[in-house]
């Protein structure tokens, strides 16, 4: 079982977003970075698959040199190999991103490393194009399931489930396949200290793909307009019970 996990480095925004002066990016000067949450689950799932079924795991990202941090985070959790598709800092749209990943997977195949399963996040936390996994699957002519929150492997097949408004739906995929996952697939483990130390020493393989105009061109970012708003402070600690009951009654909840 050989699993490839594709992840993205995104800023760990919290209370608010500040944009750079040219409105081209989020101002990340005071922010940390993380792997997009859906893909953290993809990494965990890949590690569990190999623990259960044996095989090998590789993590891949398209991003700047600094994205090696996220590759090492994935290796600290148990992924064996890492590939950086080194970008020039520009934003790569979904078509450009998918083409670079397809080329990398084809190059892996040519070098005798083929994958039974390629995992993606359903959408990246930041640009959220909702299509890179599907594009890669179609280009490689592989079956593809998206938005998956449960994967079971047996006899060269993956049974996958995704949540709907009213419950679940499931599909069976013959491997090799592409699956895009959502947070909730599993609860990712925390890296161990030895895991971190080992990951630090590991080599990251680098490829420099060619940027291309994929046809979706970012012009500028902007923050949504927030409606004017006032808050009514109802009290402190234990003295607010009666006021809250009044609010519940006013909203006809009691």
């Amino acid at each position: 079982m050989n699993v490839l996990v594709c992840v993205k480095r995104v800023p760990a925004t919290a209370g608010q977003i500040t944009l750079t002066a040219d409105a081209q990016d989020i101002d990340t000067r005071y922010l940390g970075f993380t792997i997009s949450p859906h893909e953290e689950c993809a990494v965990e799932e890949a590690v569990r698959m190999i623990e259960a079924h044996g095989g090998s795991t590789t993590v891949l990202t398209l991003g700047p040199e600094a994205a090696t941090d996220q590759l090492r985070d994935a290796m600290a959790l148990g992924i064996e190999r890492a590939i950086l598709l080194q970008s020039d800092g520009r934003e790569w749209d979904p078509v450009a991103t998918a083409s670079a990943i397809v080329e990398a997977i084809e190059a892996e195949g040519a070098a005798g490393r083929s994958y039974d399963l390629v995992l993606f996040g359903n959408e990246s936390a930041d640009s959220a194009g909702y299509q890179v996994g599907v594009r890669v699957a179609d280009a490689l002519d592989l079956p593809c399931a998206t938005g998956i929150k449960a994967i079971e492997l047996s006899d060269g097949r993956a049974t996958v489930r995704r949540q709907t408004e009213s419950g679940w739906e499931s599909a069976e995929l013959a491997l090799p396949a592409v699956v895009t996952v959502k947070e909730g697939l599993n609860l990712p483990r925390y890296p161990s200290l030895p895991g971190r130390l080992k990951a630090k020493k590991k080599e990251v393989e680098r490829i420099t793909p060619q940027w291309r105009d994929g046809g979706l061109e970012k012009v500028r970012l902007k923050l949504p307009v927030q409606a004017e708003h006032t808050v009514e402070i109802l009290g402190k600690n234990g003295d607010a019970g009666a006021q809250l009951v009044e609010v519940f009654q006013r909203l006809r909840l009691l």
Binding site: T13, A14, G15, Q16, I17, I26, D93, P94, E123, A125, S127, A128, G129, Q131, R135, D138, A139, P143, C144, A145, T146, R162, S166, G167, E169, S170, A171, L173, K182, E183, G214, G215, L216, E217, K218, V219, L221, K222, L223, P224, H229, V231, I233, L234, G235, K236, N237, G238, D239, A240, G241, A242, L244, V245, E246, V247, F248, L251, L253, L254
Partner: protein, 331 residues
């Protein structure tokens, strides 16, 4: 021509599809062209009645029994084939799980770019869209290229509105040349046991807990309040990461979007990824020790204090009122 890809249940378009039709109708008006629709699956043709109130002139129905099940690649094949035949200027679908997935497959088949989760569309050259990033906490203005513009509309970017005048809708059934390969992935609904639990997405009251709840056990007070008010318990990502609650309780960008009458956020700081999950709440009540927490500024009501202390007092008061005793007047 603008082509809208409609999702429906036995011919009744979903709410998100009505929003797509509303936007597509407006867009067709601005572009001085007509609006057509495509629907796939059982009873698709029954949609004409509703579509006539949304300015649709032709409903294309893919006629193949194998399309009754949801098979994303096959559905996309059908749409791509129609697109090649009728050559629309714009194809617009919903940003639901299915809508987004099918449109992505259409995009690869047509070798076209696609813009997901658009909230505004300005046709012309360049063709400009506003689309959501970060679950909607950030917007991007983008130029969408390609001979045919493919896009999905973000949920609730506008309110669905039928037009007062009705159109004559012609039904055009077509049989796409589907490939066995298109059916490699078919999604089958699974019968769920009804647990009787109120779902987070549908609850009128959600009592959400964050790191400030302190522990998994600390959620007992939230469970009690939710029970008293007939609501559901939610939580922040900090809480699911700590393993205190299952991910199915998580509210936010990578969790569930909620739309209750009242959201009671207990010990939650109000990170943007959490707030995008509860921005459809009609009212927010924050309970937090920190009056400066972002959630407090975004709430309608706030109580400054320790979650457990506040909830103990509130739960006692609600129990008293429910038992028919008068509420204690505020001190």
């Amino acid at each position: 021509m603008v082509l809208a890809f409609i999702e429906h249940v036995a011919g009744a378009p979903t709410m998100l599809s009505l929003e797509v039709l509303t936007m597509a109708n407006r867009l067709a008006g601005e572009m001085g062209t007509q609006l057509e629709a495509i629907a796939i699956g059982p009873n698709a043709a029954a949609a004409t009645g509703i579509l006539s109130s949304y300015g649709v002139s032709t409903l294309h129905v893919a006629d193949d029994g194998r399309l009754a099940d949801y098979a994303p690649a096959a559905w996309a094949h059908a749409i791509a084939e129609l697109v090649r035949e009728v050559d629309p200027d714009v194809v617009i679908g919903t940003a639901s799980d299915r809508g987004g997935e099918v449109m992505a497959h259409v995009a690869t088949r047509m070798k076209l770019p696609m813009a997901a989760n658009c909230t505004e569309i300005a046709p012309g050259d360049p063709f400009t869209v506003i689309r959501q990033r970060w679950g909607g906490s950030l917007l991007e203005e983008a130029h969408l290229k390609g001979t045919i513009k493919l896009l999905t509309l973000a949920p609730h970017a506008l309110t669905a509105a039928a037009s007062p005048s009705r159109t004559e809708v012609t039904t055009h059934a077509f049989s796409p040349a589907l490939d066995d390969k298109d059916f490699r992935v078919r999604l089958q609904p699974q019968v769920e046991v009804d647990t009787g639990k109120i779902s987070l997405a549908q609850a009128r009251v959600v009592v959400g807990g964050g790191r400030g709840v302190g522990s998994a056990e600390g959620f007992a007070a939230l469970e009690e309040l939710a029970g008293l008010l007939g609501g559901a318990v939610g939580c922040s990502r900090a809480v699911t990461s700590l393993g205190w609650r299952p991910h199915s309780d998580q509210v936010g960008q990578t969790g569930t979007r909620i739309a209750p009458d009242l959201y009671i956020a207990c010990g939650i700081s109000g990170a943007i990824q959490h707030m995008v999950g509860c921005r459809a709440a009609k009212h927010i009540l924050a309970i937090n020790t920190d009056a400066g927490a972002p959630i407090v500024a975004q709430a309608d009501y706030a109580v400054i204090g320790d979650v457990q202390k506040v909830l103990a007092a509130v739960n006692a008061e609600v129990r008293r009122v429910k038992a028919g005793e008068p509420s204690r007047s505020p001190a």
